[in-house]
C-alpha cells in the first residue's frame, strides 16, 4: 500500500505527477491505431505489428491489475489467474465459434467444425445461448467468477493461506488444462477454437475491427484501473490490506475474513476473465495451453516487477516485461527464459517493491 486516498494532506506532488503521466500514457495508447493509418513512410507511422502487440499487452495489463488486487492487496498469491483469463477467453471463443455459422469447412449450419469432425449430432447443452453476445459477455464474467467462488469458498473457509493456497490455485489451472485437452469435453481438445470470422457484425480481419477491439481493451483497462483505484481507496480496501498483513487479527475485530477475501477474489477473477475475452478475438485463437501454469506464473512476475500493491505498478510491469519478452524472443529466443527466471530472482531478492519502488524511493512502507 503506498498511495491511497487518505484523510489529511499527504497527497503530494508525486500523486499529481503520476496522474499526468497516466493520462499521457492513455492518450499515447489511444493514438496508436490512428497513427497506424498514416502512410508507411510517415515519421509517426505505427506498424500493424506494434498495434496488435500493444492490444495484447493491454489485455495482459488488465490481467495484471486483477492479480494485483488479489495478491498485492488481499494477499492471495494466485498461481492460477491464467485459468480465469483462459475461461473468459473460452467463453468469448464459444461466442465467436457460434458466429462462424455455416461458413466452417464442413459447412454445418450450427455445429462448429471440430464437433462435426468428432461426430457430434447436436450442440451440447452448455453451448446453448452462446450465439447471443450479451449472454456470452455474461458468461465471460460469470464462469471465472463462479470457479473462483467455489475454489475461494472452499479454501478461505478452511483458512488455507500462503503457499498452500498458491499451490492449490496452480493445481486448479493444471487440472483445467488437462481437462480442456480432452476432446470429449466439447471445447475442441488441444486445437481449441480458431478461424473466427466476425464479432458484432464486424469481420475480424478488417483494420476497423482490430482498432475497435484495441479501443475496447483500452477502455476496459482504464475502467478496471479506476474500479480498483476506487476499491482500494475505500475502507474495504483497507480491510483487505489488514487481512493481507494480519489475517487472524482482522477476525477478532469482527470482520468475516472469508467473505471479504471471497469478494476480492471473485471480482479479480471476473476482471481476468474480461481480459481473456478481449484477448481472444485479437489473437484469433484460444487453446488449452492458455491454462498452463507457466502463464499464470508469468503474470505474477509482471506484477512483482512493476510493484505489487500499487495498481500503476501492475500495469507498468505487464507492459515492461512483455515488451522485453517480445524484443528478446525475436532477437535472442534462447535467452528469454533465463531473463524471466532472473527477473524472479532479482525482484524477490533486490527489488521487493518493484519498479515503482525504484521511482518512489525509500521511506514509504510497502507490503511486507
Amino acid at each position: 500500500m503506498s498511495v491511497t486516498a487518505l484523510p489529511g494532506a499527504r497527497a503530494s506532488g508525486l500523486r499529481i505527477g503520476l496522474r499526468a503521466v497516466l493520462i499521457g500514457a492513455v492518450l499515447v495508447l489511444a493514438a496508436m491505431p490512428v497513427l497506424n493509418q498514416l502512410p508507411q513512410d510517415h515519421a509517426l507511422h505505427v506498424s500493424d505489428f506494434l498495434v496488435s502487440v500493444t492490444g495484447k499487452w493491454i489485455c495482459y495489463a488488465i490481467l495484471a491489475l486483477s492479480l494485483d488486487l488479489a495478491w498485492g492487496y488481499a494477499g492471495i498469491l494466485s498461481l492460477g489467474h491464467g485459468a480465469f483469463f483462459a475461461l473468459g477467453g473460452y467463453a468469448m471463443g464459444m461466442h465467436l465459434m457460434r458466429l462462424i455459422g455455416p461458413r466452417g469447412v464442413y459447412g454445418h449450419p450450427v455445429l462448429p467444425d471440430f464437433m462435426v469432425f468428432l461426430g457430434y449430432q447436436e450442440l451440447p447443452w452448455y453451448w446453448l445461448g452462446f450465439d447471443s453476445f450479451a449472454f456470452a459477455m455474461l458468461m465471460v464474467l460469470l464462469v471465472p467468477g463462479l470457479v473462483a467462488f467455489v475454489l475461494g469458498w472452499l479454501c478461505f473457509r478452511s483458512r488455507i493461506t500462503g503457499v498452500y493456497l498458491s499451490i492449490i490455485t496452480q493445481a486448479m489451472t493444471y487440472a483445467l488444462m488437462l481437462a480442456f485437452f480432452r476432446n470429449d469435453m466439447g471445447f475442441g481438445g488441444n486445437n481449441g477454437f480458431t478461424d473466427f470470422k466476425e464479432l458484432l457484425g464486424m469481420p475480424l480481419s478488417t483494420t476497423a475491427a482490430r482498432a475497435a477491439l484495441f479501443y475496447a481493451s483500452l477502455v476496459a483497462l482504464v475502467g478496471c484501473y479506476l474500479l480498483c483505484r476506487w476499491i482500494t481507496g475505500t475502507k474495504y480496501g483497507r480491510v483487505l490490506t489488514a487481512i493481507r498483513d494480519a489475517e487472524s487479527r482482522v477476525r477478532f475485530l469482527g470482520y468475516g475474513v472469508t467473505r471479504h477475501k471471497l469478494f476480492a477474489f471473485v471480482l479479480s477473477a471476473m476482471m481476468a476473465g474480461l481480459a481473456g475475452a478481449l484477448y481472444v478475438p485479437q489473437v484469433g485463437i484460444i487453446n488449452p495451453s492458455e491454462f498452463s501454469p507457466g502463464n499464470s506464473i508469468e503474470a505474477v512476475v509482471w506484477v512483482a516487477v512493476g510493484g505489487r500493491g500499487t495498481l500503476v505498478g501492475a500495469v507498468l510491469g505487464a507492459f515492461s516485461v512483455n515488451g522485453l519478452k517480445t524484443w528478446l524472443t525475436s532477437t535472442a529466443p534462447d535467452l528469454w527464459l533465463f531473463v524471466l527466471g532472473g527477473l524472479f530472482v532479482l525482484v524477490t531478492l533486490l527489488l521487493p517493491r518493484g519498479l515503482i519502488g525504484l521511482v518512489q524511493g525509500r521511506g514509504q512502507g510497502g507490503p511486507k
Partner: protein, 245 residues
C-alpha cells in the same frame, strides 16, 4: 444497558495430552471489572483464546448471555460485543494509526458496507476522542509500522475502545509502559467498568491493586483462589505457587 454475563464452567483445553486449562470455572457479571493473575503458563491467555473462539475447549461450557461461544467463530464472537487486546500487540502496520482505529470502529462489517463507508463527522469525532485518550493525536497519520512498543500497546487499547464492546478482554496491557502510563491505563479501565465488563490479565501487582477489583488466581489451568487482592495475597496456596517463589 443490557447486562450479559460471561460464564465458564468445567472448561478444559488439552494440547496433545497437556492440560492448558483444567476444569476451569469463571463468572464475570455485567459491568464487573475482574483481574486475572497467575504464574507463566497458568493458562490465562488460553482462557482468553477459548472465550474469543481462537481455541476450542476440549470440554466445558462457555457462554456470554445466552450465546454459546463454543459454536461461534472469532468474527461472530467479536460481533457479539466481545473485544480483545492481545498479549503481543498486533496492529496493522501498513495502515496509519487513524486507519487502524477506523477499521476497529463499530460499524457494519460486510464487504459492501465497507465499500460504501463514508467517514461521517460523528465517526471522525469518536476517532479523535480515542486518539486523545490514547495519546496518539500527533501520530494519527503515521503508519503503525513505525510506532514504539508502548505506542502499539496504546493503539491496541484504542482499537478495543473503538469496537465499543460489552466485554473487554485485556491481556497484559501495561507491559512496556511507564509508571505514569500504567496509572493512566488503570484509571481508563476502571472508568470503563461499570458500563461494560472488563477482564484484565496482568503480572504487575501494583497495577492490579490500583484496579481495586475482584482478583482471580489461575494456576496450572485451574482456579486457585478468588477474592480481593488482599484476600488472595494471604491465601497460602497462592503464596506457594505464585507469590512465594
Amino acid at each position: 444497558m443490557k447486562g450479559r454475563r460471561l460464564y465458564l464452567d468445567g472448561v478444559s483445553v488439552v494440547f496433545d495430552g497437556f492440560r492448558a486449562l483444567n476444569n476451569l470455572a469463571l463468572i464475570v457479571e455485567p459491568g464487573e471489572l475482574r483481574a486475572v493473575i497467575g504464574p507463566n503458563g497458568a493458562g490465562k491467555t488460553t482462557m482468553m483464546d477459548v472465550i474469543t473462539g481462537k481455541t476450542r475447549p476440549t470440554e466445558g461450557v462457555v457462554s456470554f448471555g445466552d450465546a454459546d461461544l463454543t459454536r461461534l467463530d472469532e468474527a461472530a464472537i467479536a460481533n457479539l460485543g466481545i473485544g480483545r487486546k492481545f498479549q503481543k500487540p498486533t496492529v496493522f502496520d501498513a495502515l496509519t494509526v487513524f486507519e487502524n482505529l477506523e477499521l476497529a470502529l463499530k460499524a457494519p462489517r460486510g464487504p459492501l458496507p465497507c465499500l460504501r463507508w463514508a467517514l461521517t463527522g460523528e465517526a471522525k469525532s469518536r476517532i479523535g476522542a480515542t486518539l486523545r485518550e490514547i495519546g496518539l493525536e500527533e501520530r494519527a497519520q503515521d503508519p503503525a509500522a513505525i510506532l514504539s512498543h508502548g505506542q502499539r500497546q496504546w493503539l491496541e487499547i484504542g482499537m478495543l475502545l473503538m469496537q465499543d464492546p460489552d466485554l473487554l478482554l485485556v491481556d497484559e496491557p501495561v507491559a512496556g509502559m511507564t509508571d505514569a502510563e500504567t496509572e493512566h491505563t488503570a484509571r481508563l479501565l476502571a472508568g470503563i467498568a461499570g458500563r461494560r465488563s472488563v477482564v484484565v490479565v496482568e503480572h504487575d501487582l501494583d497495577f492490579v491493586r490500583a484496579l481495586n477489583c475482584r482478583v482471580t488466581v489461575l494456576a496450572e489451568g485451574s482456579l486457585l483462589s478468588e477474592g480481593s487482592i488482599d484476600h488472595v495475597q494471604k491465601d497460602e496456596r497462592v503464596i506457594e505457587v505464585y507469590l512465594g517463589r
